[in-house]
């Protein structure tokens, strides 16, 4: 069969699963007074359509910021405006000021779902397909298999939120892999302007491009490239923020909305370090918010430093992708005010690694979806979660036969274990350990899912299951952070390291 027809089938499968999952319930369905993210998206359409641009981010009599006020960068707001125009055409009640609060109906649900599906179809899916077609040293079959796996990744499907930022970030990676640095930086600026969380990926982008400039020599070509890139970034930011540039106060207000430092170290049950430590020590009570902020900043910075330095010194595409993973993961684990959904920012670069380290990627993607379980249960998506996760596991297993690829080369740990053997000569058990850990962890996740879905927690500990889910996931993520850092630092494909080892 031809490549294009296989790709069409892959895309159709991805679309079908997305559409089916959207039949289920959505966040905050029928739960006044605040509803959920669905209402937030609808409310933004209402606000952006009815209010002048100057009032979008300000608390006014028409714009109560306590009720799902805009807290995303301008591009998201423009996007909401665009959707609002379409909504106005179909049914003006959907976005009427004030009166449309908590609007729920079957056609409206269909409309919201369709906007997400179309967004996916326009931005995210083409990026995935192009990326997989680009993959070097792989057969057509493998390319299509990786496309299918990436499109079937349950986390993104279940949290259908219009992932423009992820889509644009993917376009950024894609352009960089074609060596189109300017286009890549433009795409990434757009991504940041869709969602400030994209900053998790900014350091790898920055270090990679900087490293590239260094490589070309800072006095000649490199300097030109650096100036070009800087100009692109500044220009694209300026265009996005143009309507807000009239007053300084406007910009400051938007920034305050984007980075709400007063919200505290963490909210809800996030699978990061602070929330897990909270089980033992109540950090929020022990330290002042200012110290918390400093502490989290210090930890984040320290953990992402090694990968970034390595990337700046030896910029390579492979290293860049790994650095994206480990930086985003450090941000997720240690930074301030992290949301559960931010794990998707780590998952996307991991998806890109599926064909290189199938076992570890599949494992990570499973854990990342599992960490969203409390959220999904709240939204009534248990069935969809179980089904899509099983489907994802099946597809990964049949296309990459993950259980057979557990040698040290497949895990990219060859050089790491070689250097360990320098100290402990008898150390040879990596594949075995990883394989058994994988099985134990999958079983554990299965049991925990089953328990949180069926059992009612004891009265003294109402949050028992969400907390255990987030602690278990957090432990996994710590392990993955170490793993990915080990891979980045001992990456032997670069000349210098190889010489050192031999």
């Amino acid at each position: 069969m031809e490549k294009w027809s296989l790709m069409t089938i892959t895309v159709l499968l991805g679309l079908i699963v997305r559409w089916m999952v959207s039949f289920g319930s959505y966040s905050g369905a029928g739960k006044p007074p605040m509803y959920g993210d669905y209402e937030a998206q609808r409310h933004w359409q209402e606000v952006t359509y009815n209010l002048p641009i100057k009032q979008w981010y300000f608390n006014t009599s028409d714009n109560n910021l306590q009720y799902w006020g805009l807290d995303y960068p301008p591009l998201t707001a423009y996007h909401s405006l665009l959707c609002a125009y379409v909504a106005k055409l179909i049914n003006p009640d959907w976005i009427a000021l004030h009166t449309s609060r908590g609007y729920e109906s079957q056609p409206h649900k269909l409309f919201m779902r369709a906007t997400v599906l179309i967004a996916d179809l326009l931005v995210y899916i083409p990026a995935v397909i192009l990326y997989c077609c680009y993959l070097k040293e792989t057969s057509t079959k493998k390319k299509i298999a990786s496309a299918l796996c990436i499109l079937l990744y349950p986390g993104l499907i279940l949290i259908d939120y219009g992932h423009f930022h992820l889509g644009f970030a993917l376009w950024g990676v894609l352009s960089l892999s074609y060596d189109w640095d300017l286009l890549g930086s433009l795409a990434f600026c757009l991504a940041i302007n869709y969602k400030q969380m994209e900053l998790y990926h900014s350091l790898p982008f920055f270090c990679y491009l900087l490293g590239k400039c260094f490589q070309k020599g800072l006095t000649g070509k490199g300097l030109v490239l650096l100036i070009k890139i800087a100009f692109t970034v500044v220009a694209s930011f300026a265009i996005c923020w143009l309507p807000f540039c009239t007053e300084v106060e406007q910009i400051l207000q938007v920034l305050r909305r984007l980075f709400p430092i007063d919200r505290g170290l963490f909210e809800d049950k996030v699978a990061n370090i602070w929330c897990s430590l909270n089980v033992l020590i109540k950090i929020k009570n022990v330290m002042s918010p200012q110290t918390q902020l400093k502490l989290s900043f210090a930890f984040t910075f320290l953990t992402l430093l090694p990968a970034c330095i390595k990337l700046t010194l030896q910029p390579s595409l492979r290293g860049f992708k790994f650095a994206m993973i480990s930086c985003a993961l450090s941000f997720f684990l240690f930074s301030f005010q992290v949301h559960e959904k931010s794990i998707l920012l780590v998952s996307i670069p991991v998806c890109l690694m599926l064909n290189e380290i199938p076992l570890m990627s599949t494992w990570f993607l499973l854990v990342s979806t599992f960490s969203l379980l409390p959220l999904l249960l709240k939204d009534g998506l248990l069935l969809a979660y179980v089904v899509t996760t099983l489907a994802f596991l099946t597809v990964c297993e049949t296309s990459f036969s993950i259980f057979e690829k557990t040698s040290e080369e497949d895990l990219q740990l060859k050089s790491f274990s070689l250097s360990i053997r320098g100290y402990i000569p008898s150390f040879k058990a990596f594949p075995k350990i990883i394989k058994s850990l994988f099985i134990v962890s999958v079983t554990l996740m299965g049991i925990l899912t089953l328990m949180s879905a069926t059992l009612t927690p004891p009265q003294k500990l109402p949050d028992l299951f969400p907390v255990s889910v987030s602690v278990v996931s957090c432990l996994h993520f710590l392990f993955f952070l170490m793993y990915f850092n080990a891979v980045v630092l001992w990456d032997s494909r670069n000349g210098r390291n190889q010489k050192k080892i031999h």
């Binding site: 069969m1 089938i9 298999a145 899509t388």
Partner: protein, 524 residues
């Protein structure tokens, strides 16, 4: 589908698991009144003694399947009570709690295991003559996808709601057994199937003739004609015994109770009209369309008196008897005769020029298609009866592959009006695209050397389906005709699809008849 990579036998399991998971995702979708039909049957069989099953009429959806199906519902009801007791109350009409939906949908998904097994057996019957090829281009793999991921079965069973999966599983399994020369098993399975759902009686002639000709007669003469002396009385006794035993098991209790006439009257409701509420795309759809056109033209040019024309509009939604205006009205007997005549040549062919199980399969498909073309009150879903068995032949020869592509695409398209709620419109289009893209590209890859599978006319005809769909679902609801002529999309769909299905039927018939001639010449 691209997923099934290197490892040997597990690709089939992956395909089956994949489609089962997809079915699970379809659980919350729209379901038709057939859902209530089956809930009602669950309640009837659970609460009432056997003697009242075929008399109960609280709901309008009375039990009108043969006894085995009733027993099947009885068995299911004993699982259902652990999900939701309320669904087993006869008076709870249109009851559809979450647990009820979940249970009924899951019951379809789980009984489909039989279909999966049958598909596996069918894949083993296909000769994989082309070794060394990539897995994705092996006939076995293609057949597995065409059967397991069949669009029609997915939407009819898992969205619209019916239990066709395991019934077709029984049929395919019996076909596979005949291919494997396990004739008695095949006969037993088919007899059982008949007592699950009597619509399969349409293909019974093929079974009768094939078993009589190729099983009861143990040898042929040198020129391939019948050798009367080889008739085996033992074999025909065994066959007769199987059929009688199964029938006794199914209908026996009702015969003892003296309820046979009541059961029969429930099973064959000839009081319903010539066509279903929505016209199945068969000969009668064309006939009705011609009649309607003539009537309109006649009124316009004053050949007909508008006063004398009966007002019943066929696609109005209600099943009712319909008087044709210009052409003679059709009686059940006439449809029966037409069906009989159209089946006859294929059966003759099977008798006089037996070609082993493949000939039998062709005859079975022709029987199914002919009865679809001319039957009384045919449902559009009955096209699956021809599509699924034809999948087996399509992966073996390019000629059948061409016919298969026309038949499946039009047949599946004609199922579109079954789903009309806005979310399902997207679903059905996506699923249809998935299946159509796969069937076209895989069959073309399979027969790459043999040239194109369709000629230009057929290609244009199939492509025209796209504008037709756009017109029916998007353009038409925006036009002012929507209120005045609400039946136009249905009429267009069924007439247009009827053309394709008639064409495929004729083409298959011609190929079967001419094929036998060439073989005979060779034999001479």
């Amino acid at each position: 589908m691209a997923a099934a990579g290197g490892s040997g036998g597990c690709w089939f399991l992956a395909l089956a698991l994949g489609v089962s998971l997809l079915k699970c995702l379809l659980i919350p979708t729209y379901h038709s009144t057939d859902f209530e039909v089956h809930r009602n049957w669950l309640a009837i069989t659970h609460n009432l003694p056997v003697s009242e099953w075929y008399y109960e009429a609280t709901s309008e959806w009375t039990l009108d399947y043969p006894p085995f199906f009733a027993w099947f519902e009885y068995a299911l009801s004993h699982v259902a009570k652990y999900f939701d007791q309320e669904m087993l109350v006869i008076q709870n009409l249109n009851y559809s709690s979450h647990a009820t939906v979940f249970f009924q949908r899951l019951s379809v998904i789980f009984t489909d295991i039989l279909f999966v097994y049958a598909a596996r057996e069918c894949c083993r019957c296909v000769n994989g003559k082309r070794p060394g090829k990539e897995l994705l281009e092996k006939p076995m793999f293609v057949l597995a996808v065409l059967l397991l991921w069949n669009f029609g079965l997915l939407i009819v069973d898992h969205i619209h709601f019916q239990y066709n999966g395991f019934l077709f599983g029984l049929m395919l399994l019996s076909v596979a057994r005949l291919f494997q020369k396990r004739h008695l098993e095949g006969a037993l399975l088919f007899a059982v199937l008949l007592h699950f759902k009597h619509i399969y009686i349409y293909v019974a002639p093929a079974y009768c003739v094939y078993l009589l000709r190729s099983y009861c007669f143990t040898a042929n003469k040198a020129d391939g004609s019948l050798k009367w002396s080889s008739f085996s009385f033992l074999r025909i006794t065994l066959l007769g015994l199987i059929v009688c035993l199964v029938s006794a098991l199914s209908l026996g209790p009702f015969a003892v109770l003296g309820q046979l006439p009541q059961v029969i009257s429930r099973l064959f409701p000839f009081k319903r009209g010539l066509c279903h509420a929505y016209w199945a795309p068969n000969f009668w759809a064309l006939y009705n369309a011609v009649d309607k056109t003539l009537a309109v033209v006649g009124i316009k040019y004053k050949f007909l008196d508008p006063e004398k024309i009966p007002k019943a509009s066929m696609t109005g939604g209600l099943v009712q008897e319909f008087q044709h205006t210009v052409l003679p009205s059709v009686t059940p007997l006439a449809t029966l005769i037409c069906t009989f005549i159209s089946i006859l040549p294929s059966v003759f062919c099977l008798w006089f020029k037996p070609q082993g199980p493949r000939g039998f399969l062709q005859c079975l498909i022709l029987c199914a298609l002919s009865s679809f073309m001319f039957g009384w009150h045919v449902h559009e879903k009955a096209i699956l009866l021809a599509i699924l068995p034809l999948s087996l032949l399509s992966v073996e020869s390019p000629k059948h592959a061409g016919i298969y592509l026309i038949l499946t695409t039009t047949g599946h398209f004609s199922l579109f009006p079954l789903l009309f709620t806005p979310p399902e419109i997207t679903t059905k289009i996506l699923l249809m695209l998935l299946f159509t893209v796969y069937s076209f590209s895989s069959l073309r890859a399979l027969f790459r050397k043999e040239g194109p599978l369709l000629n230009w006319l057929e290609t244009i005809y199939l492509i025209e389906l796209v504008p037709l769909e756009i017109f029916c679902e998007i353009v038409f609801p925006l036009t002012p005709w929507k209120l005045k002529f609400p039946f136009i999309p249905l009429l267009l769909t069924s007439v247009y699809c009827a053309l394709g299905i008639t064409y495929a039927w004729l083409k298959l018939y011609v190929s079967v008849l001419t094929e036998s001639v060439t073989v005979r010449q060779k034999a001479e």
